[in-house]
């Protein structure tokens, strides 16, 4: 059974063309890859499409993964993050800003979990809060956006992010601080608005 195998064995088998091994890798990492893409793109449909492309990229470049250099998950998150950032950059260049689209209903709204325990008023407040946070994180520049998403949502340690991004720990700390400060100030401003 491939589900019992460690990542390294699955990778070796995938490289030999074993479909089951690749399928197991997909099952193991689809959720974190989707999460990484979503935290950067802020759009569920785009993140799902991106995660498909990330998995195609994954097996095409799997031979270049070096176990001595980085953990497989770190390597995969870097791949996911860079791909999502490329898409986001393209969207930004194209001027496609889709703020609040998920809240407008349609296909995207089906992704949201409506908590049965929460009252409609609470749900509305939560949506409003999320919309504010989304707006404030949308204005972050590239590296800050990446570091912010990886630290706060993917719970990666700053050292792991530095390793992933191939930059110094100091750079990561500064980027995270600047990002957090920007989001904090933005939220403060939006909340003080009438």
């Amino acid at each position: 059974m491939t589900s019992q195998l460690p990542d390294e064995d699955l990778i070796a088998r995938t490289l030999e063309g074993d479909e089951d091994a690749f399928s197991e890798l997909y099952e193991r990492y689809r959720q974190p890859v989707f999460a990484t893409a979503y935290r950067i793109l802020h759009d569920a449909d785009e993140a799902l499409d991106a995660s498909q492309e990330i998995f195609v990229k994954l097996y095409r470049s799997l031979a270049s993964w070096n176990a001595a250099k980085s953990k497989f998950s770190t390597w995969l998150y870097r791949l996911a993050c860079n791909h999502a950032i490329d898409l986001w950059r393209g969207r930004k260049r194209g001027g496609e800003i889709q703020l609040g689209e998920e809240e407008e209903g349609g296909l995207r709204s089906e992704y949201h979990i409506s908590r049965p325990a929460a009252s409609p008023l609470r749900q509305l407040e939560a949506r409003e809060t999320i919309a504010q946070v989304r707006h404030c994180t949308d204005i972050l520049p590239e590296l800050q956006r990446k570091v912010f998403a990886l630290r706060f949502f993917q719970q990666l340690k700053l050292e792991e992010i530095a390793e992933m991004e191939n930059c110094s720990l100091g750079t990561v700390k500064t980027s995270l601080f600047r990002a957090t400060r920007t989001v904090r100030r933005c939220l403060r401003r939006r909340r003080s608005m009438p």
């Binding site: 690749f22 799902l48 995660s51 498909q52 195609v56 992704y111 949201h112 939560a126 601080f177 904090r184």
Partner: protein, 152 residues
């Protein structure tokens, strides 16, 4: 006794403390200061509130049907790539064979020489390995003559 830290901490230091990313040595004095200092404590509260807000922003639940479709698409691409790689391998082999054939047609004499040398080499190994010399007397002599002709 260690002297108590009295300075205010920067927002960056407070953030690292909230994230538990600061040095283990500085954690206790920073925690103590944040408990006592109103200004620094307020910054910590604000960071904690922000983290609580971020936790509210949950990952959207993707319907199972969408996951199945995504998985099928990825696996299709994987299969296509594998087939392409196999075709590429066969094509490369055929291409090599064609090159050898063309060379043989344009250089018949050297080709005959190479083939004979390869056969001689292979036969010699076979004779030694299976002791064919005992079963087929004279094989070694024939090979010697062949080697003299080819090797000069």
């Amino acid at each position: 006794m260690r002297r108590r830290e009295t300075r205010h901490y920067t927002e960056e230091e407070i953030l690292l403390h909230v994230l538990e990313e600061d040095n283990a040595e500085v954690r206790p004095p920073v925690a103590e200061h944040l408990d006592e200092c109103g200004a620094c404590g307020a910054v910590r509260r604000e960071y904690l509130e922000l983290m609580a807000l971020l936790r509210q922003w949950e990952l959207p639940a993707v319907p199972a049907a969408r996951w199945s479709a995504a998985r099928a698409a990825v696996m299709d691409r994987f299969r296509e790539d594998q087939e392409w790689l196999q075709r590429k391998g066969l094509a490369r082999w055929l291409h090599q064979a064609e090159r050898i054939w063309n060379y043989a047609l344009s250089n018949p004499l050297p080709t005959v020489g190479y083939v004979a040398a390869a056969l001689a080499f292979a036969s010699e190994r076979t004779i030694t390995l299976f002791r064919l010399d005992e079963a087929l007397p004279g094989t070694a002599e024939v090979l010697d003559i062949l080697r003299q002709i080819l090797g000069g």
